[in-house]
C-alpha cells in the first residue's frame, strides 16, 4: 500500500507541473481533471471518504465542465476544429467574427 501511495504522489506532482507547462488549454484542463481524480483516491487512502466524494464530484466533474464551457465561450477551442472537414460551421464562425469587428 505504501508503494501505491508513493506512485500516486508522484503522479500528482507530475500532473501539477505539466498543467502549467502544457501549451494547449484543453490538454491542461484534462490534466487538471486527472489531478482531481488522483487526489480523491489519495483522500480515500488518508481515510477521509467525505472529502473524496466531494473532490470527485466537484473537482473532477463540475469544475472541469465549467472550464470547458468557458473555453468554448471565448472561442479557444476553434484551433482544434479547423482540422475537421466541416466547413459550414467554420464559415459561420468566421463570418460572425468579422461582423463583430
Amino acid at each position: 500500500m505504501k508503494v501505491f501511495q508513493m506512485v500516486l504522489f508522484i503522479f500528482l506532482i507530475v500532473c501539477a507541473i505539466s498543467v502549467s507547462f502544457s501549451k494547449n488549454l484543453l490538454n491542461s484542463i484534462i490534466i487538471f481533471m486527472s489531478y482531481s481524480l488522483i487526489m480523491s483516491i489519495i483522500w480515500i487512502l488518508l481515510e477521509s471518504p467525505d472529502l473524496a466524494i466531494t473532490e470527485a464530484a466537484v473537482g473532477a466533474g463540475i469544475t472541469s465542465i465549467l472550464f470547458f464551457v468557458t473555453l468554448k465561450k471565448i472561442h479557444a477551442m476553434i484551433a482544434i476544429d479547423e482540422d475537421k472537414e466541416d466547413k459550414h460551421s467554420q464559415k459561420s464562425v468566421s463570418d460572425k467574427k468579422e461582423g463583430a469587428k
Partner: protein, 320 residues
C-alpha cells in the same frame, strides 16, 4: 395619490416630485438645458500621417536598448531588485516556519480537549454516526449556513455578470451554443437515459445517508447537479425547462435557505453552546434520527444542486 389633497395640490408637493424622480418618469434637465448633438471626431490625413510618424520615432528611440543608457540601467536594476525581493521573502517565510512547533509534539496547541470532546460525546450530543456530519451540521451548523449563503451569493454574482437580457441576443447565443456539437447525439442520449437516474438516485442516497455514512449535503448536491448537467447536455435546454426554470431555482433556494436560517439562528441569537431543540435524537443508525441534521442536509443539498446547475446554464447561454 393622496387622499387628503386634491390632484393638483398633490402634484406640487415634494413627495410627488421625489416619487417621479425615483420612477424616472421625467428627466429634470429636459427643457432647461440646451442639448447639442455631438459631432464625430474626424482626423485629417496629414495629422494622421504625422501622428504615425511620431509614434514610430518614439518607439524606435524607446526600445533602442543599446543606445539608451537609462533603459539599460533600469533593466539591470529591475532584475537585481526582483531577485533580492524574492530572496528576502523566502528568508522571512523560512524564519517564520522555524518558529512552528515540531510535528507530533504532545504539547502542541492542536492537541487540546476540543477534539477529544467531539470524538467522545459526538454521538451522544448529535445522534449522528458520521462524526464529520455531526460536527458540520450540529456543532458548527452556523458556519455551514454561511457556506451555503456564500454559494448563493456566488450565483447572484455570476447572474449579474453573465446574464443576457436582450431577447435577440439571447436567441443568437442559443444558436451559437451548439455550433460544434451534434444536436441530437443518439449515443449520448441513450447513455444519459440510463446514467442520469442512477446519478441522481446516488446523490439522493448520499444526502439522505449523510449522518450515517460518508457524504452529506454538499457532496450529494454536487452529484445531483452533475446529473442535471449531463441531462441538459444530452437532451437540450427545452426538455429541462419543463421542470426546472429560473422560478424553480429561486423558490428552492429561498425555501431551503429560509428553513436553515429559522432552524439554526437560535444559537446565534442565544449565544449558547447547546440548546435543547425538543426534537428527539432517535436511535443512532436509523434514517430518521439525529434531530435536525437530516432536514438541514436536504436543504444544503438542494441549494448546492440548484447552484451547480445554475452556474452551468449561466455559462452556457446567460440565463435559464
Amino acid at each position: 395619490m393622496s387622499r387628503l389633497l386634491s390632484e393638483e395640490e398633490y402634484r406640487k408637493t415634494k413627495a410627488f416630485q421625489i416619487k417621479r424622480w425615483y420612477r424616472s418618469e421625467k428627466d429634470p434637465y429636459i427643457g432647461k438645458v440646451e442639448l447639442k448633438p455631438q459631432k464625430p471626431f474626424v482626423e485629417d490625413i496629414d495629422a494622421q500621417k504625422k501622428r504615425i510618424h511620431d509614434e514610430a520615432i518614439l518607439k524606435r528611440n524607446i526600445y533602442d536598448i543599446e543606445h539608451n543608457r537609462k533603459l539599460q540601467m533600469f533593466s539591470k536594476f529591475y532584475r537585481i531588485v526582483s531577485i533580492a525581493f524574492v530572496i528576502s521573502l523566502l528568508a522571512i517565510l523560512l524564519y517564520v516556519v522555524s518558529y512552528l512547533p515540531p510535528v507530533g509534539n504532545a504539547a502542541n496547541p492542536d492537541n487540546n480537549e476540543v477534539a477529544t470532546k467531539y470524538i467522545e460525546d459526538g454521538m451522544k450530543d448529535t445522534g449522528a454516526v458520521n462524526i464529520v456530519t455531526g460536527m458540520i451540521l450540529d456543532y458548527r451548523a452556523f458556519d455551514t449556513l454561511g457556506e451555503s449563503n456564500v454559494l448563493f451569493i456566488a450565483t447572484c454574482t455570476v447572474l449579474i455578470l453573465l446574464r443576457v437580457d436582450n431577447w435577440s441576443k439571447k436567441k443568437e447565443e442559443e444558436e451559437n451554443d451548439r455550433l460544434y456539437e451534434p444536436k441530437n447525439d443518439i449515443i449520448l442520449q441513450k447513455v444519459a437515459f440510463f446514467l442520469v437516474p442512477m446519478i441522481i438516485i446516488f446523490g439522493i442516497y448520499v444526502i439522505l445517508n449523510g449522518h450515517l455514512s460518508p457524504g452529506g449535503g454538499f457532496s450529494g448536491g454536487a452529484i445531483i447537479g452533475s446529473g442535471l448537467i449531463l441531462y441538459v447536455n444530452a437532451f437540450g435546454f427545452k426538455k429541462i425547462e419543463r421542470f426546472f426554470t429560473q422560478r424553480t431555482y429561486k423558490w428552492i433556494c429561498f425555501v431551503a435557505l429560509l428553513f436553515y436560517c429559522l432552524a439554526k439562528t437560535y444559537s446565534f441569537y442565544c449565544g449558547a453552546h447547546h440548546l435543547e431543540t425538543g426534537i428527539p435524537l432517535g436511535t443512532p443508525g436509523d434514517i430518521l434520527s439525529s434531530g435536525l441534521i437530516l432536514p438541514l442536509n436536504i436543504c444544503v443539498g438542494m441549494v448546492v444542486a440548484c447552484t451547480m446547475y445554475a452556474f452551468y446554464a449561466m455559462f452556457r447561454k446567460g440565463g435559464f
